[in-house]
């Protein structure tokens, strides 16, 4: 873990709400190295976005974060605001789900790119402009020079997301966090954007975190996957190992519940019954146990900790993990 570019250690995020304390992130450990891609998968409310905000130190004012966020040898939780500001946008970049809300609607594409570049890099206007054009071309925007004068509303959703990626990549970040980067986009555009992110990640030897609700998105495009449920990481493994042998019943159920193209129409889907627990009313035992078909008495009274499976990189938090398949 010490060699990782980013390591999150024992992160806890508490949010005060009128209904009581909401533990959005519950003792999470994660790490990602340079040139690697980590996928964080979970449903809405599982804490995946709060975790990314914690890494970026962009949590809501009232939120309380404990634990450490080590990035390139520094603990971000202890960094003064000014230093953080220099880091964000420069070494730490982020692409959000909705490009319309992350781009400023009253500034041209060019202004937004050049502003970011000049904020962090020692370039004059002409150089920054040139670099902006190169970036727009790199993210696959046709006629990049003309685009500089356009406003976000003049572009389609896919093009806007490409611009947001160009802004994120503008200062050669070491780590790129992509929070549901393709959820707002159509499927044919989604594939193009995911390819673009993968290509730039490899070319720049960046570390990347892809946050998504879609197991399909992480399967072919990440090195490691962390599955989150009710604020905790419940399973973590190298991507091939995870898909070959899921140990945590939630991961398995999530995959099974996805409609698949190779299944005949009108086949009932193996749905997960019930819904995630109320995060302001934490359960004593395993958070997934009320919905889990393997649940036993112990699951309701004791919280399973992340522990190692056959291989040291494969961790899961379950008392009754899915047994290794015969012959697997």
């Amino acid at each position: 873990m010490s060699s990782a570019l980013l390591s999150v250690e024992n992160a806890v995020v508490d949010l005060p709400t009128p209904r009581g304390n909401l533990r959005a992130v519950d003792h999470v450990d994660l790490a990602v190295g340079a040139g690697r891609t980590l996928g964080i998968v979970g449903e809405s409310g599982c804490g995946k976005t709060m975790l990314s905000r914690a890494i970026l130190q962009l949590l809501p004012k009232k939120a309380k974060l404990s634990g450490r966020v080590m990035f390139d040898g520094q603990d971000l939780t202890r960094l003064p605001a000014e230093k953080l500001r220099k880091l964000r946008g420069r070494s730490l970049a982020v692409v959000f789900q909705d490009p319309m809300t992350s781009l400023n609607p009253v500034l041209t594409i060019g202004t937004q790119l050049i502003e970011t570049i000049q904020e962090h890099l020692e370039l004059d206007l002409a150089q920054a402009r040139q670099r902006s054009i190169e970036l727009l071309a790199a993210v696959g925007i046709p006629a990049p020079e003309q685009r500089l004068a356009q406003y976000p509303h003049q572009l389609s959703g896919g093009m806007r997301q490409r611009v947001a990626i160009a802004v994120a990549l503008s200062c050669e970040p070491q780590l790129l966090i992509a929070d549901e980067p393709t959820t707002a986009l159509d499927v044919t555009i989604q594939a193009q954007i995911l390819d673009l992110l993968a290509r730039e990640q490899q070319r720049r030897h960046m570390a990347m975190i892809i946050i998504t609700h879609d197991l399909g998105v992480v399967a072919g495009r990440t090195d490691e996957v962390a599955v989150m449920y009710a604020g905790r990481v419940v399973e973590r493994a190298p991507t091939p190992a995870l898909f070959k042998q899921m140990r945590m019943p939630y991961t398995e159920a999530l995959l099974a519940a996805l409609p698949k193209l190779d299944v005949a129409p009108h086949t009932p889907l193996p749905a997960i019954s019930g819904r995630p627990p109320d995060p302001t009313r934490p359960l004593k035992g395993c958070s997934f146990s009320p919905r889990c078909r393997y649940s036993a008495e112990r699951c309701g009274t004791e919280k399973p900790q992340l522990s190692t499976a056959e291989t040291p990189e494969h961790l899961y938090a379950c008392f009754h993990p899915i047994a290794a398949r015969v012959g697997a």
């Binding site: 959703g157 044919t188 390819d195 609700h213 898909f243 193209l261 997960i272």
Partner: protein, 322 residues
């Protein structure tokens, strides 16, 4: 008519054209679309945002006026009906929307929300209304005694969608249009709602028009699938057949673009097919030609008609894949 699904379809859309006027420009939302839906069938309608699939659904219900074309429901042309006659017909056709929370009035109690269609339809007896509401709420898996007095904000998205489904069923409709009914829901909840729609279809003998952008979701519930692109139908066919052997290059592109949850299936390098053109100025000829790897001069000059490519399967393409 070549797209005949059954001798006596419940819903028949003929040469439907819907256009919007925006800032002096015309958006060609639905251009000359013909479809038939047999009794008891689920027709899936897929396409990307802006392809006109929701507009088509709304035009079928007469929530959007068509420029030309017919919508024949059980033999009655809905486009010519007005006032009371249309209202009577609408009782038999219902709609479920994408955002379940936004489609419930936040100030009204669930029992009243679900009973509202009965009130509008003139069911005067409160006992009768209560009986119907109790029945449909139980059918969608909610406890009527527990939920009737509550407000929408007390429910999750999945539960709100159950309430919307109950409301759409309370008048005993024959035909239900589901417009992206699960795309706002989480994966684990999505499966529950899809299963529920299938159950309700069997229980109440419904015919469904299921509109969605997600091919796998559409396949899970549909007998036949229609693929739409920029206001026109590209391909129509039986679900299994269409996904196994797509004839239209656009259908093939859509299928290929779905991320598969299997790391051994390396994502095929996406073809740099660009983005859909604007429906304000759709391309001449085949509207998909600007993104199509097979396009040639003929595609620019001649609009391809839907033609039979396999039994029950139709594609509007000059160079079909099968």
């Amino acid at each position: 008519m070549m797209l005949q699904a059954a001798p006596n379809p419940l819903m028949k859309v003929e040469n439907l054209v819907v256009e919007y006027s925006v800032g002096g420009k015309t958006i060609h939302a639905v251009s000359d679309v013909s479809l038939e839906i047999a009794r008891g069938e689920t027709l899936g309608l897929v396409g990307e945002s802006g392809c006109g699939k929701s507009t088509l659904g709304r035009a079928v219900l007469q929530l959007r006026q068509a420029v030309s074309g017919k919508v024949l429901f059980d033999g009655h042309d809905l486009t010519t009906l007005k006032g009371e006659a249309l209202r009577q017909m609408r009782r038999r056709v219902q709609l479920i929307f994408q955002d379940p929370i936004a489609s419930l009035n936040p100030r009204r109690r669930i029992g009243d929300i679900v009973a509202e269609p009965l009130v509008i339809a003139g069911v005067k007896d409160p006992e009768e209304r209560k009986r119907r509401v109790t029945e449909v709420l139980s059918a969608v898996g909610l406890d009527p005694a527990l939920v009737s007095g509550r407000l929408p904000h007390e429910f999750s998205g999945g539960q709100c969608q159950r309430i919307c489904i109950a409301r759409s069923l309370v008048l005993n409709p024959e035909f239900v249009i589901c417009d992206e009914p699960v795309s706002a829901l989480d994966v684990s909840i999505r499966a529950q709602i899809l299963n529920l729609l299938e159950e309700m279809k069997a229980r109440y003998g419904l015919t469904l028009l299921f509109i969605a952008h997600d091919l796998a979701v559409v396949k899970a519930v549909s007998d036949r699938v229609a693929v739409m692109y920029l206001g026109r139908l590209c391909e129509v066919g039986p679900s299994e057949q269409l996904f196994a052997r797509p004839a239209h290059p656009y259908t093939a592109l859509l299928i290929e673009a779905i991320p598969v949850p299997d790391p051994d299936v390396r994502p095929t390098q996406s073809v740099p097919v660009g983005e859909p053109p604007s429906p304000i100025a759709p391309p001449s000829g085949c509207r998909f030609r600007t993104r199509c790897p097979r396009a040639d001069a003929r595609c620019a000059s001649e609009v391809p008609e839907l033609r039979v490519v396999a039994p029950g399967q139709f594609a509007a393409c000059h160079h079909p894949l099968v």
